[in-house]
Symmetry: C2
Subunit: 233 residues, 2 copies
DNA sequence: AATTACTTTTAGATAAGGCTAAAAATATAT
DNA sequence: ATATATTTTTAGCCTTATCTAAAAGTAATT
C-alpha cells in the first residue's frame, strides 16, 4: 500500500508534521490573529480541548522543530516557518470547505468537521489541483479568506453588524462564530453571505437591532449583531 | 476545533476503527480475494510492510472487535462485519481515485498514494455525495470494481491478455499490477482502459506476444501480458 | 510584603502501534 | 522419525500523545 521505498524525499517533506502537531500549529495561528502577545499554554489547551500539561509537552516539540519560539512561562510565538506551515493548513481547510459546499452540496454548517480531517491530507498536487478546480476561490463558505500558496492572507475590509448606525446598509461578508447552531439560525432567518442588510432601528436598552432583509423586517439580538460581519455600502 | 461534546453518537460510529486498523482490514480483504484459506500473519506483514509480531498484536485487537476470527497459528478470516467494513474502505479508496483522475487531472499512476490517505476520512455524507458527484462510477481508474454501499462487489468478466490466442481481439479492462512503473509503461505504449488489443502472434520460446494497438504493431513480454486484463471480443 | 489564587511545568502513568530477539509451534527434508 | 527450516507468537522495549497529581512560578489582593 504505502510505498516508503520510492519517493523518500516526497515522503519526508510531506510528513514533516503529524496531524496533532498540525492541529496545535493551526490553533496557535488562529490565536495569534487576535493577540499580539505570546500565546499562553492555557489558551491553546482551551482551543484544542486538551490539558495544559499536554500543551507544554507539544510546545517543546514544536520548538525543537523550529516552528515556534518557546520561553518557559512566557507562552509561544510562531516562527515564520511556523506561520507558513499553519497558513498552509488553514488554506487546505478552507479550500476543502469550498469544495464541500460548491461541489458536494454540503451546507455551510456541515463542512467544518470534515474539513478538520481533510486539511491533514499530504499532497501538494492535490491541493493545487483542487484550488484550480474550484477556480481559485478567495473566501471560504463562512467568508474567511483563503491564504495563498505562500501563506499570505488577504483580509477584506469588514465590520461587525453591531457597528452600523440607523438607516445604514451593509452586505453580509462573514461570520465571527461559525458554530453550526449559529449558522443554522442564520439559514432560518434567510441571512447568507452576500445578503444585503439595512439597519432600521437600534434599541438602546439591550442593543438589539431591527433590520431589513429582502423587504422583511426582523429583530436580532446584540449577540447576533456582534457575530455577523458586513461590508458598509 | 473537533467538537467531541456534541455529536457523540456520530463521533463514536465514525471512529470505530483507527487508520491503522483500517489498513489491516483492507490488506486482509485483498488477500482473501486470492486465497480461500486463513490469511497468514506473514502475508499481512508483507502486504502492509510491517513485522509479523506487529501483525499478531493487531490481529488480536481486530478479533476483540469482532471483525476477524483468529486462531493462533491458523491465520485470520474476516467476519461479515469485517468484510463490510473493509469493502467500505475500498469503496472510498476507489471513489477518491476516480475523483482525482476525472476532476483533478491526476494520471492513473499518481492516485494511489493520495487515495491511501483519503480513504480514512470519516464522513458518510462525504462519500455518498462524492459518489453522486462522480455519477456513481462502477470502476476505478485501474478497472477495479467499486463496492456498493452494502459492500457488494460486482466483478466483471475478465481474463489475462496472456490467455488470448493468435488473432483473437480483446478490450483492455484493467491491470493486475498497479504500480506507477507499470502504469507509466502502459502510458508510454499507448495502452489504456478501453483500448482494443489484437494478438498478432505468440512466441513459444519466451511467451512474448506481438500485438496490434491503433494499427501499430508492438511486442510485449510475458510479464506484461500477465498483468493486463482484457475482455474477449 | 505577605498571602492567596491562578497558571505553567514536571513527574509519573497509560494506551496505541511499532520494533527486535528469543521461544514455541508448524512444516519440510532427510 | 528426526533433524532442520520456516512461521508465528511472546516478551520486552520504544515513541507519540494523552492524562492526573504535585511542584514551581507568576499574578493579584489584602
Ligand atoms: Mn472551518
Ligand atoms: Mn484538524
Ligand atoms: Mn489504489
Ligand atoms: Mn490507507
Amino acid at each position: 500500500m504505502i510505498n516508503k521505498k520510492n519517493n523518500i524525499f516526497a515522503y519526508l517533506i510531506s510528513n514533516m508534521f503529524t496531524q496533532s502537531e498540525e492541529n496545535y500549529l493551526k490553533a496557535i495561528y488562529h490565536l495569534e490573529l487576535v493577540s499580539t502577545k505570546g500565546i499562553s499554554t492555557n489558551a491553546i489547551a482551551k482551543k484544542i480541548e486538551t490539558k495544559a500539561s499536554s500543551v507544554t509537552d507539544m510546545v517543546k516539540k514544536l520548538s525543537d522543530k523550529k516552528v515556534v519560539v518557546y520561553k518557559k512561562y512566557k507562552g509561544v510565538k510562531l516562527t515564520s516557518l511556523g506561520k507558513k506551515t499553519a497558513a498552509n493548513i488553514v488554506r487546505k481547510h478552507r479550500l476543502w470547505e469550498v469544495f464541500l459546499v460548491e461541489k458536494l452540496n454540503f451546507s455551510w454548517d456541515e463542512v467544518h468537521e470534515v474539513a478538520e480531517q481533510l486539511e491533514h491530507i499530504k499532497s501538494p498536487k492535490l491541493i493545487n489541483q483542487l484550488d484550480a478546480f474550484l477556480d481559485f476561490p478567495k473566501q471560504d463558505p463562512h467568508g474567511d479568506p483563503i491564504p495563498d500558496k505562500e501563506g499570505n492572507l488577504k483580509t477584506i475590509e469588514k465590520s461587525l453588524l453591531a457597528t452600523l448606525h440607523k438607516n445604514e446598509i451593509g452586505i453580509c461578508v462573514g461570520v465571527n462564530d461559525s458554530s453550526s447552531e449559529f449558522l443554522q439560525f442564520l439559514d432560518k432567518q434567510g441571512i447568507t453571505i452576500g445578503q444585503e442588510i439595512k439597519v432600521l432601528d437600534k434599541e438602546d436598552f439591550d442593543n438589539s437591532l431591527s433590520i431589513e432583509i429582502d423587504q422583511k423586517e426582523l429583530s436580532i439580538s446584540s449577540k447576533i449583531a456582534n457575530n455577523l460581519y458586513i461590508q458598509k455600502k
